[in-house]
């Protein structure tokens, strides 16, 4: 993880305690998500805590004392930037509203109003389902002659090779 100059460093004893835990690597998304939380751009989801804990400390739980000291430190950093967060969020809202208005304008008056792409949720769901199924099944390519005559005949009835 790279350092962020806007964040006050952790106390030395916490840094040492973390260093003593060995050569462990936090997930790549952690830095982005923690940075966003600190800057008030997003709230870290509740499920992040156990994941961070698991990634950093492994299956064993983090020492309670360490956790209690880290949390106030993070909260203090977040509070000091709360004002900036509100201003930033307003800008985000304004931009989103502008984008939506422009999009609707294009949708109503523009040439491509019916050209919405396919159902991304269904497509993504299917692709995930297919990947899951294929992960559980061994596919073995064989010579068509190894198939039963009835299977080959079914293929031929559908326009396959004779």
């Amino acid at each position: 993880m790279t350092s962020n100059p806007e964040i006050t460093p952790l106390p030395d004893e916490i840094v040492r305690a973390l260093a003593d835990l060995g050569d462990l690597e936090a997930p790549a998304e952690l830095e982005d998500r923690v940075s966003l939380a600190l800057l008030g751009q997003a709230t870290a989801p509740a499920e992040l805590a156990p994941r961070v804990e698991l990634a950093v400390f492994g299956p064993a739980a983090a020492p309670a004392s360490l956790w209690q000291r880290v949390v106030p430190q993070v909260q203090a950093e977040g509070a000091s930037r709360r004002r900036a967060r509100v201003l930033s969020f307003r800008r985000v809202l304004s931009a989103a509203a502008a984008v939506l208005l422009v999009s609707i304008g294009i949708g109503v008056y523009g040439p491509g109003s019916g050209t919405v792409e396919g159902p991304p949720d269904l497509v993504a769901q299917y692709q995930a389902h297919r990947a899951e199924v294929l992960s559980k099944v061994i596919l073995i390519e064989v010579d068509p002659a190894e198939f039963s005559g009835i299977a080959r005949d079914l293929g031929a009835h559908m326009g396959g090779a004779r």
């Binding site: 008056y109 109003s113 068509p144 299977a151 079914l154 293929g155």
Partner: protein, 342 residues
């Protein structure tokens, strides 16, 4: 902030109204000359109900016709070309004679051997009904494909034809249809695999819509079939077929039948045959009672697959049932269907 939020919600609701869930299936049918010239899909002047209408497409078996066409089964090693002459009385009667056959690209079809011709003509009814893309289910097609129409894009035997290019929203493979502009007859098509390589191609060479049908020997079904209506038919079938839990990407059951193969030969077992369609493509899943071999418990764990020309086959076994799925679909997608049997 308090004033911005209601505004944002109002804007969002407008946006959702403009993009309501069924709008995606209209998709690219607003483009292409057909829509703009007919006015049925032009932006801002029509409702979504109009946008959902796919152009009319009929098979030549719906009208009296005599057609000569070339069908190509794109085997990865060497394409197989079948030159077929087809007659239709427009009322269900049809006949298909194989006039030429060639293997390998660039080769001209020549008179087929009886080894090729006889089994091919034995399949003529099934081929006419189930080979290639057709407008099998309008609503399902409009949900699973987007399309563009190019009017009068080409001529086939002097007949102006529209080219309809369909794109699968699931990415399972696109298709091109060549439809006569006036009569809406399907005179050519290409089915692609998911990488964009053709699997099956058909194009008419000559078309006669006022045919002389005297002397035509109409096709008959070589194997009797009956509808499968539920467990009460299991006695006829000889076993209880497995349920299909998931039908595949955009597919739905079109028909359930029993192939009464035991009537043709006492050595054959009857089959359960399910036809699945996504509105355009068709996939068949056959089940039969598996005799001998190791019983496979629970879900299928291994699947064998093979490519036979423009069709993929997958087969596996669950419990005491042997299952094969066949169609112009990637083996991964066929495996999803096969593995969904329980």
């Amino acid at each position: 902030m308090r004033r911005t939020l209601p505004l944002l919600l109002a804007v969002l609701s407008l946006g959702l109204g403009a993009c309501k869930p069924d709008a995606w299936s209209a998709s690219s049918n607003t483009t292409g000359t057909a829509q703009s010239s007919s006015g049925s899909g032009t932006a801002g002047n029509s409702g979504n109900a109009e946008l959902l209408v796919f152009p009319e497409v009929k098979t030549i078996f719906e009208v009296p016709a005599e057609v000569l066409w070339n069908y190509t089964s794109h085997d990865p090693s060497a394409p197989q070309i079948y030159q077929e002459r087809v007659w239709s009385d427009g009322a269900g009667g049809m006949a298909m004679h194989l006039e030429g056959y060639a293997e390998g690209s660039g080769n001209t079809p020549t008179a087929p051997s009886s080894e090729v011709r006889v089994p091919h003509e034995g399949r003529q009814l099934f081929l006419a009904r189930h080979r290639g893309p057709q407008l099998r289910d309008h609503d399902r097609l409009t949900r699973n494909y987007t399309w563009e129409v190019e009017e009068n894009a080409l001529q086939i035997d002097g007949i102006d034809c529209d080219r309809i290019q369909l794109q699968s929203v699931y990415g399972i493979g696109d298709a091109t249809l060549l439809v006569s502009h006036q009569d809406r007859l399907l005179l050519g098509w290409v089915l692609f695999d998911r990488s964009g390589t053709p699997m099956q191609t058909l194009q008419a060479v000559s078309v006669d819509l006022s045919p002389d049908l005297n002397g035509v020997s109409w096709a008959t079904a070589p194997v009797s079939v009956q509808d499968y209506t539920g467990s009460s038919d299991d006695l006829v079938l000889g076993f209880t077929p497995l349920d299909l839990q998931y039908f595949g990407p955009g597919f739905e059951t079109q028909s359930l039948q029993i192939l009464l193969a035991s009537q043709a030969s006492s050595e054959l077992n009857n089959f359960h045959l399910r036809a699945l369609t996504d509105g355009l493509r068709i996939v068949f899943v056959a089940q039969r009672f598996a005799t001998g071999g190791a019983k496979v418990l629970g879900h299928v764990s291994s699947v064998r697959f093979a490519r036979v020309g423009g069709v993929n086959l997958v087969e596996g076994r669950v419990e005491d049932v042997w299952i094969v799925a066949a169609g112009p679909l990637h083996q991964d997608d066929l495996t999803v269907i096969l593995a969904s049997h329980q």
